[in-house]
């Protein structure tokens, strides 16, 4: 096994480290802790954050890439590495990735979706729905299926219940420690929602998530829970893999956008004069080009570049990954103008404030004023816009992939799933599972992100605090 870091992995982990660093920093400073505490007391925000955390864990697992060791070793005794990069997530879900059928099959199906010519034992052929290679292959027939599903689900639920009970016990232990009350008292208070932190919501949401995961883990090795797609790949596996793509687009784009928006926005507002004129001109020009067209142009150019430098990509995965990164860069370059304008306006206001004037009168250098007085005081705007933009970017990915200017067609993404499923809608009976899976996964992620963003905005925006 040999670990390998793709370009987006590096940036993603970098971003995670920065986020953890911010968490430590925020926990030490009361003015940052207060709004986050308010977020933590919001039941909706806690629920949404739990869902987001689950998605994040899957994305992190899916970002640890390595070359797997092949099962059969060489005669020479050297361990051979597979040529295909897989992620830790691929490794964990093993059967879901490797159990590939021939073509479409419905959720929990035993038989394929379309008829085929089957050779019978006596040499004759007939046209019928063939049995799937993996889906429900341990069953004798369709009659055993429902009972088997119920049995497996029950096993999964039992395990999930056990894990959830341990987690609940740990949490109650923590609460009783922190509040110095007996565990029974803590359990009572949690159940009746008497703490300001909505532990009850937290436990309920984690319970639902563990149950779902438990059932899926129990069923996935034996069935295709959400069916298979055109080339027989498990749809649930695709939808789960797409989480990483969605999160990458939502977070890395912000990473690309932030330096532009912050440096240009703050310097325009702070220095004014010529610098302000140039920066204003720059963002007015850029924002006057319709976003989709700018993205499309850049994506077309990327396509040309990729086809000209086809040899320099070591593997398909690396190529798809670079294209994802390029898409983030393109989206970032086209989307910094809004935040830049906001930050410029805020800095213009801030530079008139007494403490900044005082700092200037004392002869403090521009750099120090910017770093100590400007940046900390605009961070709430940056924070709000990061969380608000996220859901929009996830939705944008689906639309862009639909026009073929999104991520690489070989990369799992909800946009690509919808795009390929769209063509099959005309079929009779209709192939709905791929489409629905992508839309539901996207909906859950975006809804959670939107709800969380609302809570963050309410907590950080001083203007809203006045209104409410």
């Amino acid at each position: 096994m040999q670990l390998t870091l793709l370009a987006t992995d590096t940036l993603f982990f970098g971003l995670l480290i920065v986020a953890i660093g911010y968490g430590f920093y925020a926990s030490k400073h009361e003015h940052l802790r207060a709004p986050w505490r308010e977020v933590a007391r919001n039941a909706v925000a806690i629920g949404a954050a739990t869902v987001l955390a689950t998605f994040l864990i899957i994305a992190v697992l899916d970002s640890i890439h390595f070359y797997p060791r092949l099962a059969q070793n060489d005669v020479s005794g050297e361990t051979q590495l597979g040529s295909e990069v897989i992620s830790l997530f691929d490794h964990l879900v093993g059967p879901m990735r490797t159990q590939v059928e021939k073509t479409y099959s419905a959720p929990f199906a035993l038989y394929a979706f379309s008829k085929e010519t089957i050779e019978l034992d006596d040499g004759l052929t007939k046209r019928d729905y063939p049995r799937l290679i993996f889906g429900g292959s341990h069953l004798a027939g369709i009659d055993d299926r429902n009972g088997d599903i119920a049995r497996l689900s029950l096993i999964g639920m039992t395990w999930a219940g056990l894990i959830w009970a341990v987690w609940t016990a740990l949490l109650l232990g923590f609460i009783s420690r922190a509040h110095e009350i007996p565990i029974a008292r803590a359990a009572h208070n949690v159940f009746f929602g008497e703490f300001r932190v909505p532990y009850r919501t937290l436990l309920a949401v984690t319970g639902i998530i563990t149950l779902t995961v438990g059932i899926c883990v129990a069923l996935a090795p034996h069935y295709h829970i959400l069916g298979t797609d055109k080339v027989g790949i498990d749809v649930l596996y695709q939808a789960l893999k797409s989480i990483r793509t969605g999160l990458m687009i939502g977070t890395l784009t912000t990473l690309v956008m932030l330096p532009f928006a912050m440096i240009l926005g703050i310097s325009a507002g702070y220095f004014r004069g010529r610098i302000d004129d140039v920066i204003q001109y720059l963002y007015t020009t850029l924002s006057s080009i319709p976003g989709v067209l700018l993205i499309a142009s850049a994506a077309l150019i990327l396509e040309v570049y990729m086809s000209r430098h086809a040899d320099s990509f070591t593997s398909l995965v690396a190529r798809a990954d670079l294209r994802l990164l390029a898409l983030c860069v393109i989206l970032g370059i086209t989307s910094w103008t809004g935040l830049c304008r906001l930050l410029r306006g805020e800095t213009l206001k801030l530079r008139q404030v007494d403490f900044v004037e005082a700092a200037r009168a004392f002869g403090v250098s521009h750099t120090t004023i910017l770093m100590r007085h400007m940046v900390p005081n605009i961070m709430h705007i940056v924070m709000i816009s990061i969380v608000l933009d996220f859901s929009g970017l996830v939705l944008a990915e689906a639309v862009l992939s639909y026009i073929n200017i999104g991520v690489d067609p070989s990369m799992e993404s909800w946009g690509n799933m919808i795009n390929s499923a769209r063509l099959e809608l005309a079929r009779e009976p209709i192939v709905w599972w791929s489409l629905l899976a992508a839309l539901v996964f996207m909906f859950v992620l975006v809804l959670a992100a939107n709800l969380f963003a609302d809570a963050v905005r309410d907590a950080f925006d001083p203007r809203l605090r006045v209104i409410n």
Binding site: Y281, S288, E303, Y305, N404
Partner: protein, 325 residues
């Protein structure tokens, strides 16, 4: 007023030049005409002669910015920059890479786009404002909470879902209207209904929530308290005072998109097979026709700048405190 408009138009010129330079850089410098030719003619097995022929037919064989071989003013005019980018200022879009006249195509395809975009815009706006006012009227109640939750949920649904779901439900299951297509005149109405409904529903969630915030901000102001103190009913306060004052922030978002309606919606038009500018652009992107994409970028920027100008003018019309200087 007139002098203000003239000055704003003059200000728009550097921005348009900027847009032009950006598109020129993107399409001719970062990505050379040779690459375009190779992409159009097929990847590897293409001879240099074929590339040169392709470039020659489209006038891409000239030097980029400065023609050393030409004489006098031709040094500047006989270049790719002049013949392909500068002439966009006169709205002369030239020919597409596949040889069609772009200006003619645009003038033909503008109207189907408008036929979809205009009803979506007007009806959508009316519905959004009505719903938002109702929600603002019931602020702080369960109705308000659930309305906001529904809005957030509607915002979280991909626009692709609305389109596919609408096509499936109304077109395929209920057989009320054709799934896609377009026709001119009154016969075409049956093709327009579905995309319009889908377009309105798709934008409803975000719109209601956004306008609700605007209304709530307005309701918190002093003049509203005064109006209530005078003994006006809540309805009169909302519909007369709040609505009229909230029009100012609403205008910012609304007027700027008015000219952009001509550009149509990329996704909707592609899904419903409407021969408008949106599907024109998508086709161009998929066929990698750089000339069309370039023209549409320029046209879109022009329309956006017109929208900004209209926004400023409309401010003076609704808000007497704003004076243009």
């Amino acid at each position: 007023m007139i002098s203000y408009i003239v000055r704003r138009i003059v200000y728009a010129i550097p921005i348009l030049i900027g847009v032009n330079v950006i598109t020129f850089l993107l399409f001719f410098v970062v990505n050379s005409p040779d690459d375009m030719a190779r992409l159009q003619l097929g990847e590897r097995r293409v001879t240099q002669a074929a590339i040169d022929k392709w470039k020659g037919e489209r006038g891409y064989d000239k030097p980029l910015l400065w023609n050393h071989e030409a004489k006098a003013s031709k040094k500047f005019t006989n270049t790719i920059f002049f013949s392909n980018s500068v002439r966009l200022f006169t709205f002369d879009f030239g020919q597409s890479d596949s040889g069609r006249d772009i200006s003619y195509d645009i003038s033909q395809r503008m109207w189907p786009s408008l036929a979809i975009a205009l009803p979506v815009f007007t009806v959508g706006l009316l519905l959004t404002i009505t719903f938002a006012l109702i929600v603002a009227f019931f602020r702080g109640t369960y109705l308000d909470t659930w309305a906001v939750i529904t809005c957030v949920a509607m915002m979280s649904i991909s626009s692709l879902f609305y389109i596919i779901g609408g096509q499936y439900l109304i077109g395929k299951l209920l057989h009320l209207v054709p799934i896609s297509g377009f026709d001119n005149g009154i016969v075409g109405a049956k093709f327009i209904i579905l995309p319009v409904i889908v377009g309105i529903i798709g934008s409803l969630g975000g719109g209601i929530r956004w306008y609700r915030t605007i209304f709530l901000e307005e309701i918190g102001k002093d003049y509203v308290r005064t109006a209530r103190a005078k003994g006006l009913s809540e309805r009169a306060v909302l519909y007369v005072h709040v609505l009229r004052n909230a029009l100012i922030p609403i205008l910012t978002g609304v007027v700027v998109v008015l000219p952009m309606l001509f550009m149509g919606s990329l996704i909707t038009e592609a899904f419903f097979g409407i021969p408008g500018l949106g599907s024109y652009t998508i086709d161009a992107i998929q066929r990698q026709d750089f000339a069309i994409v370039r023209s549409m970028v320029f046209l879109g920027s022009c329309l956006y700048i017109v929208g900004l100008l209209l926004t400023d003018i409309s401010y003076t019309l609704v808000d007497p405190r704003v004076r243009l200087e």
